[in-house]
């Protein structure tokens, strides 16, 4: 443990600001190519389209939103695993786009990622020990053999695995244990920020709590800052200090976790929260549900104005489909300045001056962002074990 120090021991570059990560107007647009001989760019998938957020040192920022809204792409862009089309990302005061080669590689050590199924993309022939050492070696953390092995033991105990796990292979572990290894791997290079992309969504319900608790424990132990990306609002609310809600490539609302759940202001957040099932029949029976009409529009053809206007029950003729609302503070009694929302009419909706109306669903072409109209299945978690089984009469 000679060269590793906890970030708690490190001095802040300047005493005042404790913003660790600062993303300004980040955009990631993927070109859509068509054509057999010449790849022509016929359009763009506006996967991330103007994300601005700051993450404070030591906090957990939760990013929620539905499938395809750009959460993972944004997370990857932060780590420069995806080159942003526009915008800047500063880590600890340094603009990452100004870094090249060796310095970028060095900086990467500070930012690690935990995936949904961490080992699915890794070499199944490597033992856990080899997997953990690989990352450490890349950052020159294995020169002192004794220290490296002490570190391995420390990592395993931090994530609650026995030392015997070192000699085993990924497939010998259950999903929950694999996620522990994924977390140990991220921790192995002593990062400051961990971006966890759906860290528990592939796990069994009874195991999710173990991993959520573990993430919280190691955060405290190693003084980590988290960006937790997930579609499960209850999980995000539990783990996060602040929460950002994404819709079609941008934030629609951001607030402290408790404030957001106490008073969701954006119509999309309201609908999303009302749709989350709560394991309590008494609550379920009494709940007011906002059932949204239609599907999420394709990020290849995002609606003009407010991106949510095609499904918004409060949409107004005046400007919802022409002017794109920016994240702003609101003038509502009891709502702090940290609670910001991108809706033109947040105040009027909250006061009841504007009432919801019915919405005619618009048709969404699920192929709009795909290179060719082939039969492609979107990433459904967990494949059906009986793909041959047919429904009645087929």
């Amino acid at each position: 443990m000679s060269e590793q120090t906890s970030i708690l021991d490190k001095k802040r570059p300047d005493g005042s600001a404790d913003i660790l990560l600062d993303a300004q107007d980040v955009k990631v647009h993927f070109p859509i190519k068509r054509g057999v001989i010449f790849d022509r760019t016929v359009g763009y998938v506006y996967a991330v389209d103007g994300m601005t957020l700051q993450i404070n040192r030591g906090e957990t920022y939760g990013l929620v939103g539905e499938s395809g809204c750009g959460k993972s792409t944004f997370g990857r862009a932060l780590l420069r695993l995806e080159e942003p089309t526009a915008g800047t990302v500063a880590f600890d005061g340094t603009d990452l786009s100004s870094l090249k080669g060796e310095t970028l590689r060095k900086q990467r050590r500070n930012m690690q990622m935990v995936f949904q199924d961490p080992l699915s993309s890794l070499d199944p022939r490597q033992t856990v020990e080899a997997l953990l050492l690989e990352g450490m070696r890349a950052h020159g953390l294995t020169k002192d053999k004794t220290a490296a092995h002490a570190r391995l033991r420390e990592l395993l105990s931090a994530v609650g695995l026995p030392e015997a796990a070192l000699k085993k292979y990924p497939h010998e572990f259950s999903g929950g244990q694999r996620q522990r290894i994924g977390i140990a791997r991220a921790l192995s290079v002593d990062p400051q920020l961990i971006v966890a992309d759906e860290p528990v969504s592939a796990l069994d319900v009874s195991v999710q709590a173990q991993v959520i608790n573990l993430l919280e424990d190691v955060q405290e132990q190693f003084g980590l800052t988290y960006l937790v990306i997930a579609h499960d609002l209850a999980v995000v609310r539990h783990i996060s200090d602040r929460v950002g809600v994404m819709y079609l490539g941008a934030l629609v609302e951001e607030a402290d976790a408790d404030d957001l759940y106490a008073m969701p202001l954006h119509p999309y957040t309201r609908a999303l929260m009302s749709a989350v099932p709560i394991p309590d029949p008494q609550v379920e029976d009494r709940r007011e549900r906002i059932i949204l009409a239609g599907d999420l529009p394709s990020p290849a053809a995002p609606p003009n104005g407010c991106r949510f206007h095609t499904r918004c029950p409060w949409r107004q003729e005046t400007k919802c489909d022409t002017e794109r609302p920016q994240l702003r503070e609101v003038r509502i009694e009891g709502v702090p300045a940290t609670h910001r929302v991108a809706c033109h009419f947040a105040e009027e909706i909250q006061s009841g001056a504007l009432q919801p109306h019915s919405v005619t669903p618009t048709i969404v072409d699920p192929d709009a962002d795909r290179p060719r109209p082939d039969i492609v299945e979107d990433g459904a978690p967990g494949a059906d074990p009986f793909p041959d089984a047919r429904p009645p009469g087929v």
Partner: protein, 346 residues
């Protein structure tokens, strides 16, 4: 936009499907026999929704596939009975069962794409079911098909009718599949994780369609899910499964208010609630589903159970009435968590 406060009408006693001691074993030459479903019994009546809940591998899908006669032709053994309207479905041959599936019983799956024919427009697929099972003429069936797509909430059904499954979003495909299931006007619908692959706002739409179906048509619904929240809002009766057996069974109000089996209790304590307090760590259940022991060696949950004692590792508990005398609350446990004896949950 709709407010849903809904209390389904339960007509106790008139059971439509009655499953008794269902056992499904997988195995074959040179492979050890594996009991995926181990003595499952439950009833569902018209207009009633029952839930089968449990984690990955506990036997939910195999239970429903056995009832539907959809298990692979080879390599498994099914025992017990599944009496539907006086007929034991498990005794029917392939042809009789396939006829039943078209007429009385339908099933929808998690992954609608695998259940839809990729090269036939969805309107035609729905219409074909109607032609076959209701004897409608083609034009009339197409007309009915349009009405059905409209009823399950597919926008602009006249246009969607002509589209192929890959042209629809996941939510729309699931609706198309529900429309197809409804085309035969089933008296029983088995839904196996129908919303697991969908976003939560789309899930809310689909659950609303299913609710309406049960209320308006009196269809009996078996809802299979791992999501206790979905169960809380939809099911009249809840059966919690673990390692192939039902470990707790009660009405939804009862089971959520008084989870008495350590597994049910643990599950409810381990999931973060959107409306709960955020303070403190979650009460995680130790170990994983894979740690279970065979029921023949005691209680399968014993390796993970905080209440386990020596008897749990010797004697397999039977599914019995709740010791405090609450009617229709069944438990499979030597040391249930009875009200007043516990502090871990809530």
């Amino acid at each position: 936009m709709s407010a849903a406060a809904y209390e389904p009408e339960v007509r106790a006693g008139d059971s439509l499907l009655s499953v008794r001691d269902l056992v499904v074993e997988f195995g074959g030459k040179g492979r050890p026999t594996f009991r995926a479903v181990d003595g499952v019994s439950f009833d569902v009546g018209p207009g009633q929704t029952i839930g089968l809940v449990g984690e990955s591998g506990c036997g939910k899908s195999v239970t429903s596939l056995a009832i539907m006669g959809l298990l692979p032709a080879r390599g498994n053994k099914v025992a017990g009975s599944a009496t539907f309207d006086g007929t034991d479905l498990l005794t029917l041959d392939q042809r009789e069962m396939s006829d039943r599936r078209g007429r009385d019983i339908a099933m929808i799956f998690q992954d609608p794409l695998s259940s839809l024919n990729p090269v036939v427009p969805i309107g035609v697929q729905v219409a074909e079911v109607m032609q076959r099972h209701q004897g409608l003429k083609k034009a009339q069936a197409m007309q009915e098909s349009r009405l059905l797509l409209d009823r399950v909430g597919i926008p602009d059904p006249a246009r969607r009718l002509k589209e192929y499954p890959h042209q629809l979003s996941g939510g729309m495909r699931q609706r198309a599949l529900i429309a197809m299931a409804l085309a035969c006007k089933p008296r029983l619908l088995i839904a196996d994780e129908p919303t697991t692959a969908l976003d939560v706002t789309i899930q809310a739409q689909i659950l609303e369609v299913l609710r309406e179906l049960v209320v308006d048509s009196g269809t009996a619904l078996i809802m299979i899910t791992h999501d206790l929240g979905v169960v809380a809002g939809l099911c009249d009766e809840v059966n919690v499964m673990y390692a192939g057996r039902i470990v707790e069974s009660a009405s939804r109000h009862e089971i959520f208010a008084r989870p008495e089996h350590p597994y049910t209790h643990g599950l409810l304590g381990s999931i973060p609630r959107l409306d709960g307090t955020r303070a403190g760590a979650l009460h995680a259940i130790p170990g994983s589903v894979a740690d279970n022991i065979p029921w023949t060696g005691g209680c399968a949950f014993a390796p993970r159970c905080t209440n386990a004692t020596a008897i749990c590792r010797e004697q397999s508990p039977a599914l019995e009435a709740d010791p405090t005398g609450i009617p229709d609350h069944l438990l499979r446990c030597h040391h249930p968590i009875l009200p007043g004896t516990d502090s871990t949950h809530e």
